[in-house]
Symmetry: D2
Subunit: 347 residues, 4 copies
């Protein structure tokens, strides 16, 4: 294997940023009390509070599915429904973990480039008080979306306003929240907490961390018993300092921003380079670190052999390419060369 190989299959195929690794090494000194009562975890939490406000609750967990499941467990009872996009990670890609762990019904809304909109959401806001129906309990949106698009502040506010008007909570799945922050050029707090989000899954793993996500509660009514829920969801880490140390490096010197800035920029560069290839169309607006392209079917499997990636939709030949924190301009240019070779274009 070529150890320095880089691809576009997923931002979780990339490794660990050197500063994150360095922080892990530094944290590996002596003994520390486990399960989050250590000084590194306190420090990491204080960095989150600096971004989102002092009066929040923060839980560190292993992965995105864990973060989402804990968020849902705190927001809904089993007789309530969760409204999300038909493309939402928690609906499509978590093997039914949300249903299994909460007992709740997931109701889907047709997406528009990965986003959901009030006029479609409202169709699911029915049956209130009717005992035969799951009671609408929350709306979950992904920022960035599974199509790599980014909700604007106004779009988020429209959804949280609708939700709160009907008495629902709003969850944001922020597995790639850093990419959204960079794209919007806004502080985290502005387009999450201040925009009406109640609970946030905040990702680290896809943006240069080795392992670690967090769940942030902006509504104290929802966070009273979260530590028991984390434990019961099997998401409590004994040697917690090793997640905390990563988050410390992630926030220090704005590493999160540098990483996300790079992957967003590289996606833009890829989009630009592809725009010169008339046989390839861009499927969705490129707003973060994802490029969805419509490829000629004939080249897909050959190209996958040369640099693996996922076909997003077989029927429409839409493929997904993700840029990572460590993607370099030359990686883009090399990849475009390979694509062109596959297309039999003269180089």
């Amino acid at each position: 294997m070529n150890k320095t190989r880089k691809g576009f299959a997923s931002d979780n195929n990339s490794g660990v940023h050197p500063l994150i690794m360095q922080s892990l090494i530094s944290a590996n000194q002596g003994h520390e009390v486990g399960y989050g009562d250590d000084y590194l975890t306190k420090q990491a939490i204080s960095l989150f509070k600096k971004e989102f406000g002092e009066d929040i609750d923060v839980l560190f967990v292993f992965n995105g599915t864990g973060a989402n499941v804990i968020a849902l467990s705190c927001l809904v009872s089993s007789y309530q429904s969760v409204i999300c996009a038909d493309t939402a990670h928690l609906y499509v890609d978590e093997c039914g973990a949300p249903e299994k762990q909460t007992g709740s019904k997931l109701l889907i809304v047709k997406n528009n480039n990965g986003k959901i909109e009030p006029e479609e959401i409202i169709k699911q806001l029915t049956g209130f008080g009717f005992q035969h129906h799951s009671q609408p309990g929350m709306i979950s949106i992904s920022q960035v979306t599974e199509m790599g698009t980014v909700y604007t502040l106004e779009e988020i506010r429209a959804i949280t306003d609708l939700a709160h008007h009907y008495g629902l909570y709003v969850h944001m799945d922020g597995a790639r929240l850093a990419n959204a922050a960079v794209a919007l050029n806004l502080p985290y707090k502005t387009f999450t907490r201040d925009a009406g989000i109640d609970v946030l899954s905040f990702g680290g793993t896809k943006n240069g961390m080795m392992i670690g996500e967090s769940v942030l509660f902006f509504n104290p009514e929802l966070s009273k018993n979260i530590k028991y829920i984390r434990k019961q969801t099997t998401q409590l880490y004994s040697k917690m300092r090793f997640i905390s140390a990563q988050f410390i490096a992630y926030f220090e010197n704005d590493l999160w921003k540098k990483n996300a800035n790079n992957s967003n920029k590289m996606a833009k560069l890829l989009e630009k380079e592809l725009s010169h290839i008339k046989e390839i169309k861009i499927a969705y607006p490129v707003e973060s670190n994802a490029v969805f392209a419509i490829l000629p079917k004939r080249i897909i499997s050959e190209l996958q052999k040369k640099s693996f990636f996922y076909v997003w939709d077989e029927s429409t030949s839409i493929v997904r390419w993700m840029a990572s924190f460590d993607t370099k301009e030359e990686d883009i240019h090399n990849f475009v060369k390979i694509i062109k070779k596959c297309l039999d274009l003269k180089l």
Copy 2:
């Protein structure tokens, strides 16, 4: 904080062995496909197969509660019961995760120094075929036990024979399996698979790894759908290579054995040193890396301030001290000095 401080509160308060850390650094090269399809995971699995046989299935997971819950999910249906010691980690220390995740009833058996025995287990083997009763479905034993004792081969075989005679499966919670292997001076396979265990939780985190446990299935009938169960239990890791790399280092050069050997030896040394202090009694046989001692109540809180540890049983003043892979003889001697000082003994 003194960064080189070491204590006896728990073996998960220790950090990461340097060879494990080195393996993480080495694994951090280029991009790798996620979720376990990478070459490091294949290599790590092959090392497990070398220990336990080719025809097993292995799942890597985040933590011990996750491992146990997945094991149970594969072994029992919700209308079946799980029989375990009244001190079992999965009964006492997992915040009800087993009940929540499986819907099963846990039936407890009075422990004898942490172990359960056929004559007590058999009292729970009732109600077969009676529709009002949870049907006995499996027995779970911890090796080493929560009291630090170690089942002998004969004791394990007596339980698996009983279980299989009644049509039950047997799970072993091996969060500290390495310490048991060293204590028994037996290959892993001999006192697990060959002794009739059906599914095994195999721990790494408490013996020098940063993060990582595994679940091993010795019965192919039970492992058909484990990957979906892992995902639904929120225990699938995207950047899997970073758990796999640790297991590779763990097995290479018998690091697991060196680490467990050290912590077992240090516990023995602590026991020996304590034997000279007549005000302190050893509560359970010291067979692995745990020392349970009965302290004079008057010194407990002062001693905790000097070097934190957990009181196991308030009413009997039993405390738990755990030796770790990185515990050194001088750590023991220093700790014993502190104890003696607390006891106002002349040094």
Copy 3:
């Protein structure tokens, strides 16, 4: 209240057929062993076996949601998905009981007059072997459908063939199975078991019984542990003879057929009478005891006051009228008169 009032709101608003009531009275003699070990339950089960074959398993339960949940619990694991119509009772009208009780994901298929068809179902048969996706496990169809339509033998066979080809089971929700049998003029067995159905919810309550549904298992692999699942689903009745006695009367002298025949006929009569009113359109084919009509919006609430019924779809002014076992021709004529009066037609 007018005690002899009859309406068209639902077939479960009707009462108990006199022969059913008589059977309850007859069963009320002396003491009987509980939970289904009595002679009346044995007799009732033998009547089911006469219809469906000796080698089936039969469970009596309280209600349709209970029957469906038990059926699903036996057919799928929590990491599997259940495919059904977007109008299916178990998706829309059971307050999320299927998700809560099984942990499974429900995947919906757009209905065509209440039915689902292979070309739409197949779109949900994806992700096999992909650990991030709920694995398709079963298809559930309602016979008669929630729109009152009836699957033909060929339509059922097309679905069961598709399902079995992909390794899925098929459940039929037969809350109104008697109406389907009368409509198809086929023995129960022909369009259920012989048509490839694996598990059947068989209704009694909507067709003249006081209380009682059953779950029939045609696949012995699926019925091994049903009695524990029934108990754990809270659906085991202590004084079972009083459900069994009803089923005995239900099968004796083909009471089920007479009742369903009447309600189907009355629905047809209502359809015919409505066909003379040009302001009212029939929304779906009238094939059983349901008539769905598109009413002028202006008369709905007034008509509801005179004889309560449910609006099925507010946006399209579709209302649902159900005929019952005890609906008489004069009830239809009276109701049509009321409708006409509301429409201000000359009588």
Copy 4:
């Protein structure tokens, strides 16, 4: 079969009181709106409110397991534990329905003649705030107990005081509450609501009803969403009037009291008659309609053949005999004759 045969196996082996049956027949007039919006249900609820106070919430359900599961679902979250007697019906006889439906851990307390006492309960009130432990959430007691004994007002108050002091709720499983009321000679309200009970399972089936139990909520904070929980637990009855009609007859003319008075009296008579047989010992105080007796092992199976009953404890030869609402003095005398015959005593 002898249709007028009566036995002592269980009070749910008896049938339906004639006044209950008459009420069912009277309710079977015309159509009624389903699911509890009918006038009979309103009337039945008002009878409960007359007994327990206007400001309560009442749910009608099918069976005792359903009532208990709904009560628990309202009182505890999955990370909380339920404390009950080791003999509690919900621990022993519901096939794990409580664990499956709530995800909660059940913690058992050694019983004293079926009752639990504060000094034993308090041992389970540990681990508050410790994230590894299920958090104590409620205490459940059975009134009358599974041994037929009856908690005094003081005993109940001691438990509810303890529970509320620690922030726990108290559930009472009143499957045989009428027998307790008669035994205590107290109004229902006095030894339930006024004694600090938060939620009550109130039984009807074992005391002369055909089918029907209810769940009563004395704490409005707990009853906000009970109708959805009932539906999701599969316990919502469509033709609700037929449970309601039974409760109306049950309260009218104090039928519940007459029935329970009879069965309690008959148990006392049986106890008295047995007191003359020196080979038989009474195992627990006879305080309601149950008589637990220690039989010579040699006669058990012969006696069971003549009049079936359950052996409660094989090892101690304790058997259980239940008197019913329809047990007559001559039934007792005949049964005692049979016993004596089995014992080879001269008659």
